[in-house]
């Protein structure tokens, strides 16, 4: 499909250039750069470092308890050139606040919209003295306005751009594995060798993108979670799944008889696909996982995805999936040319 279609080839290249150029050069939106707090009696004093927020005079600050969807305003606020000092009532003095509860800081002004600083404060102790005051809930809705900047999140910072590079690798791999499983089933029903070759080459390309996904994910994990590899069900699941596909490639190459090879490989491929889905989509959702979108963690689509991100993320996903199809077509062409050379 891809080898003779110049339009598809051009579209693939345009999508990838679009996501790489946009993903690298669009700036981050302003946000609170750093938040340090100190407790004093029943007060919580925050020092916020905010050099990128230009109009500090009209900044509203809130402390947000995400699970309860409740917010509270500071009692005093003092602004300097690069920082804001805000004094809140210590949330531990409110009713229903338990040890380990995490609060976000929300800053908001006319020009920059809402700025979230996640997990700015975690309760050390629990009190039960007063009732948590529910403020205006409308501020919790992030504005959907299209801005030419990416969200600026604490911990993630500039690395949020990896969404356009790390995630599409897995989309491309998953597309190739679904394609492969589909053609393995088709081979078992039709017996056509072309279907088996399609499945085999799709697994090869899928494993290539899977390896890139794991390597890029490791680098990202090191600088956000602090380690290249964590004991996380999503990471371990992806590794086990990829090993089961490597077993497919070895198994297929280990059998000489063409028909036997194709039949056994097709049956094993369906088995490996099922195992993979269980390991990377089902188990991480059952167990606690650091990875976004699993184990009760918010997925990227809740906090980090906004319309500017989507404008580059979707073309990136489509572009890399098309690249995987293109590579698979070249591999398939080479396979059949080899067969022609061996049996002219």
């Amino acid at each position: 499909m891809f080898l003779k279609n110049k339009f598809l080839q051009a579209l693939t290249v345009i999508f990838i250039i679009h996501s790489v150029v946009g993903g690298l050069f669009l700036p981050l939106s302003p946000n609170i750069e750093n938040a340090v707090y100190a407790k004093q009696d029943s007060l919580l004093i925050f020092n916020l470092y905010t050099p990128k927020i230009k109009e500090k005079s009209d900044v509203f600050l809130y402390l947000n308890l995400p699970k309860e969807k409740k917010v509270t305003k500071p009692i005093t606020i003092h602004q300097t050139k690069d920082s804001i000092k805000a004094v809140f009532i210590n949330p531990e003095f409110y009713k229903g606040v338990n040890k380990g509860m995490s609060f976000d800081l929300i800053a908001q002004n006319q020009k920059d919209g809402q700025m979230f600083y996640f997990s700015a404060f975690t309760a050390d102790t629990s009190y039960n003295q007063e009732t948590w005051i529910s403020e205006d809930k409308s501020i919790l809705k992030e504005s959907k306005a299209f801005k030419w900047s990416f969200p600026n999140r604490n911990i993630l910072r500039e690395s949020i751009r990896n969404l356009f590079f790390h995630v599409p690798m897995w989309f491309a791999m998953m597309f190739m594995l679904i394609y492969s499983a589909f053609f393995s089933i088709k081979y078992l029903s039709s017996g056509n060798v072309l279907h088996d070759e399609k499945a085999h080459n799709a697994v090869k390309v899928g494993m290539f993108f899977g390896t890139l996904g794991i390597l890029t994910g490791m680098i990202w994990a090191k600088h956000t979670w602090g380690a290249y590899w964590t004991d996380d069900p999503k990471l371990n699941g992806a590794a086990i799944g990829m090993l089961s596909y490597l077993a497919y490639l070895i198994l297929r190459n280990g059998i000489d008889d063409e028909i036997k090879k194709a039949k056994i490989a097709a049956v094993y491929n369906i088995f490996a696909f099922t195992i993979y889905i269980i390991f990377i989509y089902i188990l991480p959702r059952i167990n606690a996982s650091l990875h976004p979108g699993n184990g009760g963690n918010p997925g990227f689509n809740i906090y980090e995805q906004d319309n500017t991100m989507r404008f580059f993320f979707y073309p990136a996903v489509i572009g890399w999936i098309m690249t995987s199809l293109w590579l698979k077509d070249i591999l398939l062409w080479i396979t059949f040319r080899k067969k022609e050379c061996l049996n002219p």
Partner: protein, 45 residues
């Protein structure tokens, strides 16, 4: 191996350097794959 200077470089760029490294890995991987493909095609000729 002392990799402190890499970590310092990444921290000084506010993690932008992580994105550059990730892109470098992807395009190096693509280059190797295309090199493998071109070698396979050469063998056919």
């Amino acid at each position: 191996m002392n990799v402190d200077f890499i970590n310092q470089w990444i921290a000084s760029t506010d993690k932008y350097a992580v994105v550059v490294i990730v892109l470098a890995i992807i395009f190096t991987g693509m280059a190797f794959f295309l090199f493998y493909l071109s070698n396979q095609i050469k063998k056919l000729k």
